[in-house]
């Protein structure tokens, strides 16, 4: 960690040391090289391994009820996976709730397979040596929306309410640093170290951010779901971390997916 910080300082220092005129050129050269780095990783995305695993888990008979997930309704009807991820979160009559892909998946694992919610969510994300079924299943489900546009108009009153809640959370300053999502992600041209920060208030910015998830994170050596991404954003903003599947996270997702609506999905992605 230390040396990585130091290196950032060194690379950053080199950029600063250059004259004002060439600093921009240096900057874009660094950006070009990083783009080359990401391109080299895109072919052979380790997330592809999880997608294959998730496909197996989807059709495997498991749990106390010895059932597969093939009858799981992700919003388009039982077993209909194509495009399902791209139209979530949405309102579900049977639970009277707006649910994202992960809360709906957990609902299916509980109702169809007979697992307890606690069992299913115990390993909601992977740790070195401990794999997560949810990660694999969400990677598989996400890939089934690849090439399809995100479509969360949030027209149902419950969905509209969630989108408004998400927007409120996005702008709300809170925590010991008096921080909000919008401080970093509410304007164009923001950057932290070498990382460009997207403006999530525009269709373009939100679309760019949402279309590649679930995504393999190079720095973590793991696929992250959108739940994990957003919960970790809160941690980084020094807010109390919400529970997995919390309404606040589903609300943020609804707001971001609504803003991103129309953007074509490109998942699993590969991110920093």
């Amino acid at each position: 960690m230390m040396f990585q910080r130091l290196l950032v300082t060194l690379v950053g220092g080199a950029v600063l040391a250059a004259s004002a005129g060439s600093a921009l050129a240096q900057d874009s050269k660094v950006a070009d090289e990083l783009a080359k780095y990401r391109d080299a990783l895109a072919d052979g995305n380790p997330a592809d391994l999880l997608e294959v695993k998730g496909e197996g888990l989807w059709s495997e008979k498991r749990g106390p009820k010895n059932a597969s997930l093939e009858q799981c309704d992700l919003g388009l009807g039982p077993g209909k996976l194509e495009g399902a991820y791209a139209q979530l979160p949405k309102y579900f009559k049977d639970t009277n709730k707006v649910m994202d892909v992960e809360s709906r998946l957990v609902h299916c694992m509980v109702t169809l397979q007979g697992f307890t919610q606690a069992d299913v969510t115990k390993q909601w994300y992977s740790k070195p040596g401990k794999e997560s079924d949810i990660e694999a299943l969400v990677t598989f489900i996400g890939a089934k929306s690849n090439g399809m546009p995100i479509n969360v108009p949030a027209t149902h009153p419950e969905e509209a309410k969630m989108a408004r809640m998400g927007e409120y959370i996005f702008y709300r300053r809170s925590g010991p640093q008096d921080f909000s999502c919008s401080i970093c992600h509410g304007q164009e041209g923001k950057r932290i170290r070498l990382q460009d920060l997207g403006n999530l208030t525009t269709k373009e910015g939100a679309g760019f951010a949402m279309k590649t998830w679930p995504s393999y994170r190079v720095s973590q050596g793991a696929v992250w779901t959108m739940q994990r991404r957003l919960i970790d954003c809160m941690r980084q903003a020094r807010w109390p971390e919400p529970n997995y599947l919390a309404d606040s996270i589903v609300a943020l997702e609804t707001y971001l997916q609504k803003t991103a609506t129309g953007t074509v999905m490109d998942t699993p992605g590969i991110e920093r």
């Binding site: 072919d43 052979g44 380790p46 592809d48 391994l49 294959v52 070195p128 040596g129 050596g221």
Partner: protein
């Protein structure tokens, strides 16, 4: 046994390009867990790719090969439909073999 590998093999102008993605932790033996204890080394040591029954690549890995190892290489003499078989073995003696057809 680990999870399945992802093997892609495609013919172009008489050359077969093989791309292999392996599911493996590749622990270096230098990382500490949250309790401060060293996480023991656990990594693939050998990986062999065969075209039908002929070895086309024999690899030896150290622990500094990345988690979920990736490998791409090219060989001559492959035909559409031929089998590519990839086997690995790790330092705990675990092994796995997967195959794919040249497309």
């Amino acid at each position: 046994m680990g999870n399945p590998m992802k093997i892609r093999a495609a013919n172009k102008d008489g050359v077969t390009e093989v791309k292999v993605l392996v599911s493996h932790e590749m622990e270096t033996g230098q990382r500490k867990d949250s309790a401060g204890a060293i996480v023991p080394a656990w990594f693939i040591t050998e990986l062999i790719a065969k075209h039908n029954d002929k070895v086309v690549l024999a690899s030896e890995f150290g622990p500094s090969v990345s988690k979920n190892p990736y490998l791409a290489f090219k060989f001559k003499g492959g035909a559409k439909g031929d089998k590519i078989v990839v086997s690995w073995k790790d330092n705990k003696g675990d092994t796995r073999t997967d195959e794919a057809a040249i497309g």
